[in-house]
C-alpha cells in the first residue's frame, strides 16, 4: 500500500489561516499516513503550548496520523518541498498554509492518481472568492501560460490532462526534483516542478470534486519577500527552462569516466542539449552556462541521484534511468 505524506510549509500564519488548514486536513475523508509541517517562521514557536494546536495534535494521534513539526532553514519553500519529495512516502500532498481543502480533496486526488496509469501529479480547483476566472479556453499547456488564466482557478468539470499545476496538488514522490537554484521567494517553483514531471513522461491532471479555497492572505506567507530581483532571478530560470521545452537537457557535471559511459546512451536521447565538463569526450556547452541558465544542477547530478535511489545497478543503467 502506497504511503501518502501531507506536507505544509508555513510562515507568519500561526494565528490566521494555518489552523484552518490543519483542521481541514484532520477532517479529510481519506487521511494521509503522515503530516509534516515545515515551520519557516522568523521567530518559530512551540505550538504544542497553544490550545487549538494541542487539540489538533491529539486528534491526529487518535486518528492514527503520524505528525512531525520541522523547523525549516529559511531558504524558501522549494527546499522544504524537496525534503518531502525525498521522504520514504510514494505520494506527497502539498498544501499551502492559506489554502483550505474541502473534506474530499485527498480522497479524490488519490483515487484518480492511482486509477489512471502513469500519473505524476493531480490537482483540483483552487478558488479565491469572489474571483472566478473564465477558464473555458484554458489549455493548461506551458506554452499558453502567459495567455490564459490557470485552469485551476475555476470549477473543474472533467478530468483534463495539463502540463503544470499551481498551489496545492498530490504528486508522485522522488521522480523529479524541485529547482533549488530559485531564490527564497521560489517564484514559479510549483509550475517548474509539475512541468518537470510532465517532461519526464508522467500525466499531470486536473480533476473535478477536489476544491481548495485559497484564502490569499497579504500577511505572512512563505513568499513574504518583496525584493524584485529575486522574482526576476527566478523568472529568468523559468523562461530558460520552458524555452528548452522541446529539448532534453543533459548536464554532465561529473568525472571523465562518467562522460565516457554516458556517451553510450547519448544517441538514444531525442533532441539533447548537452552541457559538459569534457567536451573532447562529449561535445556540448559549459557547466558554467548551465548554472546561469537553470540555477540548480542537482537534478542532473548522477551521483546524487544514485544515492537518492539507493542504486545498486550499473552506472550506465543509472544514466538510462535519469535521461531515458
Amino acid at each position: 500500500m502506497d504511503k501518502i505524506l501531507c506536507s505544509i510549509a508555513t510562515r507568519g500564519r500561526y494565528y490566521s489561516t494555518f489552523p484552518l488548514v490543519l483542521s481541514a486536513i484532520i477532517n479529510q475523508t481519506k487521511l494521509p499516513d503522515k503530516l509534516v509541517i515545515f515551520d519557516d517562521n522568523d521567530e518559530p514557536k512551540d505550538m504544542r503550548q497553544e490550545l487549538a494546536y494541542y487539540y489538533f495534535f491529539q486528534m491526529l494521534e487518535l486518528k492514527g496520523v503520524k505528525w512531525e513539526w520541522v523547523f525549516a532553514e529559511k531558504k524558501g519553500q522549494h527546499h522544504i518541498h524537496q525534503m518531502a519529495n525525498t521522504s520514504d512516502c510514494q505520494w506527497v500532498w502539498r498544501v499551502d498554509d492559506d489554502a483550505i481543502p474541502e473534506p474530499n480533496v485527498l480522497e479524490n486526488l488519490y483515487r484518480i492518481a492511482t486509477k489512471i496509469d502513469n500519473v505524476g501529479a493531480v490537482g483540483g480547483s483552487v478558488l479565491t472568492p469572489p474571483l472566478i476566472f473564465d477558464t473555458s479556453k484554458s489549455t493548461g499547456k506551458i506554452a499558453d501560460i502567459d495567455l490564459e488564466p490557470n485552469i485551476q482557478w475555476n470549477v473543474i468539470h472533467n478530468i483534463t490532462e495539463v502540463e503544470h499545476l499551481h498551489c496545492s496538488f498530490l504528486y508522485r514522490a522522488g521522480v523529479h526534483d524541485y529547482n533549488l537554484g530559485l531564490s527564497r521567494v521560489a517564484h514559479r517553483e510549483e509550475t517548474l516542478f509539475t512541468y518537470g514531471l510532465h517532461q519526464k513522461g508522467y500525466k499531470i491532471l486536473v480533476v473535478p470534486d477536489a476544491v481548495t479555497w485559497h484564502m490569499k492572505n497579504p500577511q505572512g506567507g512563505i513568499r513574504s519577500e518583496t525584493r524584485q530581483e529575486m522574482y526576476e532571478h527566478d523568472e529568468k530560470i523559468f523562461r530558460n527552462i520552458i524555452g528548452n521545452s522541446g529539448n532534453n537537457i543533459v548536464v554532465l557535471n561529473s568525472g571523465l569516466g562518467d562522460h565516457i559511459v554516458f556517451n553510450r546512451i547519448l544517441p538514444e536521447i531525442p533532441n539533447p542539449v548537452v552541457f559538459t565538463c569534457y567536451p573532447e569526450v562529449v561535445s556540448g556547452r559549459s557547466i558554467a552556462e548551465a548554472t546561469t541558465l537553470f540555477g540548480d544542477l542537482d537534478q542532473w547530478n548522477i551521483y546524487k541521484k544514485m544515492a537518492q535511489w539507493k542504486w545498486t545497478g550499473s552506472l550506465e543503467a543509472a544514466y538510462r534511468k535519469l535521461y531515458l
Binding site: G255, N263, E280, Y303, A307, W311
Partner: protein, 144 residues
C-alpha cells in the same frame, strides 16, 4: 605489451586515493610480469617502468589501448575508456563497487565485498585507504 594505469586521482584533501593500491604493490606486481609493460598516467605520479606516457590526450590513449595485449588498472576513467575501446583488461578493486562502476567485459578483481564503502556516491576523501582490500599481486598474475 601490457599497459598499466596504476593511480587514481589524488584526494582533494591530499593523500593516496583508497582506489589505488600504492607504489609498493605495483612494484611487486610488475616484478612478477614477464612481458614488456608501458605505464600511462599524469605528471606527478611515480614512474614504475621505463616507458611512462604522461598527460596523453584521449585519442593517443585509445591508440595505446588498441596496441596493447591487455591492460591492468584501477577504478578510474581509464577502465571506462578501455571498455569503450573494446579492449578487455584487469581492474583492481577495493572500496568502490564493480557492480556499479565496473564493466562485465573486464576481469574485475575484488578481495571481498565487505571492504566496499557503505556509501558509494561520496567523494573518496571520507574512505580510509586499506591495502588489504586489494587482491594480492600473485593472484592478479593468474588472470593475466
Amino acid at each position: 605489451m601490457i599497459l598499466i594505469h596504476p593511480f587514481a586521482k589524488p584526494l582533494i584533501k591530499g593523500g593516496i586515493n583508497p582506489k589505488t593500491p600504492g607504489v609498493e604493490y605495483w612494484k611487486e606486481l610488475i616484478a612478477l610480469i614477464d612481458e614488456p609493460i608501458i605505464q600511462v598516467g599524469i605528471e606527478g605520479e611515480e614512474q614504475l617502468v621505463p616507458e611512462f606516457f604522461k598527460n596523453l590526450p584521449i585519442p593517443r590513449l585509445r591508440e595505446l589501448i588498441s596496441e596493447c595485449r591487455t591492460w591492468i588498472g584501477i577504478d578510474s576513467f581509464f577502465q571506462h575508456l578501455a571498455w569503450d575501446e573494446g579492449k578487455p583488461g584487469i581492474v583492481l578493486w577495493s572500496v568502490s563497487d564493480p557492480l556499479i562502476f565496473g564493466h562485465p567485459e573486464n576481469i574485475n578483481l575484488l578481495a571481498d565485498r565487505k571492504n566496499l564503502a557503505s556509501n558509494q556516491f561520496l567523494w573518496w576523501d571520507f574512505t580510509p585507504h586499506n591495502l588489504d582490500a586489494f587482491v594480492k599481486p600473485e593472484k592478479v598474475l593468474e588472470f593475466l
